[in-house]
């Protein structure tokens, strides 16, 4: 089968041709001038560049804090970001609204209009495209910190054009993440092609001396994603980004809740990604890790939610994450107020600082978890490379179709949907059903025996009901 996509740098011509189409998607696209945008980046203070902030964090072994946040209007977004800045964030977010994420700019415009009219945000994010470069620059100019665009979208090309031209220096995401989490019918090769465009755009800025950081998502569906599969996803994305000229990658990971497993994942992530990047000729790409605090269902009680947030801070600290993306005590209910969002930041800051020089000691258990994640991710990645004859883009499309890579709870109809995750006795995410995942037999046996232990302890069968129980667990106050 023809995968329809290859891991090859888009030629200047192809890129230029596609650009013309992309910029025509909405009137604000017309005014984007890449040369002018590069000049603007050069004129901005280095302290407003994400990649530079990440470089110094990596150097000092610090963890940067980035919250999430987006509202409909420019003024609202400025107020929000200033509040988050004051609360002690290191990097500022701009989460896109879900219409923009789906290129439904007309609906976004309607949501923006209604928001202005009613004086409250009816959109769940900031419609960058509708505000255009000028609106976004007002935001950039109103704060002191580096800015990250957070699309969460299969096709965010125009949004990326606007955000990067406005002075954002990170446009988070990646094609596999957003294929698995944010699509229903779309084929993976299309999402890959769209993100290759975005990576190529970032690579263009890089080639002009403007460092762009490529944060990945990696949390995918936020719900019981086995760490090794997330690692396979972000490694493939990193390779594809590198091919398009990206040089600074933040490997994304979503906290699962079991500390040993999470710390193991955060430690093994850069090791495995490094190995594959080096092998494929991208040794120059710098890697860090970005940990998303628990992405699944939150408890609605705010004090309990603060506990979950604190646990995320602890995990990021012990896992030596380069960035931590924070949640708020409003998570279970709705988009947080500035105050609630700030609480998540300050709780996280307190713990990051308190744990700054503490170690999660090396242990056999940790080494074992690291080995398992490494072996599983490598098995999947090797198969992907096989499938693509060394081309990860082609390989991953075939791997998805073959169910060699699939993600629990993906809404995509192209996702196999056969694997079943469940927690073991210590809360680590394991698999009950492996579908076609190419895990080694002894690893499969390890998963099964671990889940059985838990079933035995709780006196419950290891079946779909266990999975459902685990989906609710943290929101119901346990793991």
């Amino acid at each position: 089968m023809e995968p329809g996509v290859w891991n090859r740098r888009l030629s200047e011509d192809v890129f230029a041709a596609q650009r013309t189409e992309v910029l025509a998607q909405w009137p604000t696209g017309a005014s984007i001038d890449l040369d002018e945008a590069v000049d603007r980046h050069h004129a901005m203070p280095p302290s407003k560049n994400v990649s530079r902030a990440v470089a110094s964090a990596l150097g000092e072994g610090r963890t940067l804090i980035q919250p999430r946040g987006g509202v409909a209007t420019v003024d609202g977004q400025i107020e929000l970001l200033r509040g988050l800045q004051e609360a002690g964030a290191d990097l500022l977010p701009t989460t896109l609204d879900s219409y923009t994420r789906n290129c439904r700019f007309t609906e976004a415009q309607e949501g923006l209009r209604a928001s202005l009219e009613q004086g409250r945000s009816l959109l769940n994010g900031f419609p960058v495209v509708n505000h255009g470069v000028d609106g976004c620059r007002r935001v950039v100019d109103s704060v002191e910190l580096p800015l990250v665009g957070r699309p969460g979208a299969p096709d965010a090309r125009l949004a990326a054009e606007v955000a990067l031209a406005a002075g954002y220096s990170d446009f988070e995401g990646g094609p596999l993440d957003y294929f698995f989490a944010y699509t229903k019918d779309t084929r993976p090769e299309h999402v890959i092609a769209w993100w290759q465009y975005i990576y190529r755009l970032a690579g263009y800025y890089e080639s002009c001396g403007v460092p762009i950081h490529q944060e990945q998502y990696g949390s995918i569906t936020g719900t019981l994603v086995p760490p090794s599969l997330a690692l396979a996803v972000v490694t493939v994305e990193a390779i594809m980004a590198a091919e398009q000229g990206v040089r600074h990658v933040g490997l994304g990971y979503g906290q699962e809740g079991c500390l040993v497993q999470d710390v193991a994942a955060l430690r093994v992530y850069p090791q495995v990604a490094r190995r594959y990047l080096d092998r494929l000729g991208y040794a120059h790409v710098r890697l860090g890790t970005v940990m998303n605090q628990w992405m699944g269902a939150f408890p609605s009680d705010e004090a309990a939610a603060m506990g979950v947030i604190g646990w995320g801070a602890v995990t990021a600290a012990f896992g030596h994450a380069t960035e931590v993306i924070t949640k708020s005590p409003h998570e279970a209910e709705g988009i947080p107020t500035i105050k609630a969002n700030a609480e998540g930041i300050r709780c996280t800051r307190q713990l990051l600082n308190m744990l700054r020089h503490q170690a999660f000691p090396d242990s056999e258990l940790l080494a074992q978890e690291m080995e398992i994640i490494d072996r599983e991710a490598s098995a999947v990645l090797d198969r992907i490379l096989d499938f693509g004859d060394g081309d990860v883009a082609a390989g991953v499309v075939r791997a998805i179709d073959a169910g060699v890579l699939e993600i629990p709870f993906s809404p995509s109809k192209h996702n196999r949907g056969r694997i079943l995750p469940a927690r073991d006795a210590m809360g680590a995410v394991r698999l009950l059903d492996f579908g076609n995942l190419p895990f080694p037999d002894d690893v499969k046996e390890f998963h099964r025996s671990r889940i059985l232990c838990r079933g035995a302890r709780d006196g419950k069968a290891a079946d779909y009901h266990m999975v459902i129980e685990d989906v609710y667990a943290i929101s119901h106050g346990h793991l």
């Binding site: 609204d97 229903k184 409003h330 779909y464």
Partner: protein, 148 residues
Amino acid sequence: MATSRPYTLILGVIGADVHVIGITILAHALREAGFNVVNLGIMVSQEEFIAAAIEVDADALLVSSLYGHGEIDAEGLRDHCREAGIGDILMYLGGNLVVGKHDFKEVESKFRDMGFDRVFPPGTLPDDVLAWLNSDLASRAARVEETP
């Protein structure tokens, strides 16, 4: 309890919303309880909901919205049902319906006014949904029998 002829329910997430976990679990629980469930998945438009309901002669429409655009996405659904000739269909709505954390009473009355028969807050468990469905469908069935 579902009766001898199982009730048919349409389930889906409206708008551009991708939150699939809730309806996945709901669909599972409703099927286990004997309902005939048509799960349209995520990103379902009003037209798709209505077309599906007509196609299978559904007894109820279960609309999920998590991402905050519920206000915009669900606007006019009851009218469109009426226009399509299924104006009476039992209609539930659940999830995180508006942007931000709000007193649920206000949210509920907003969507009741929009024509939803019941509105469910974040955190609703399948068992609650089941209980309401059984009672609402039973009392509708009783009403139908009374007026032959």
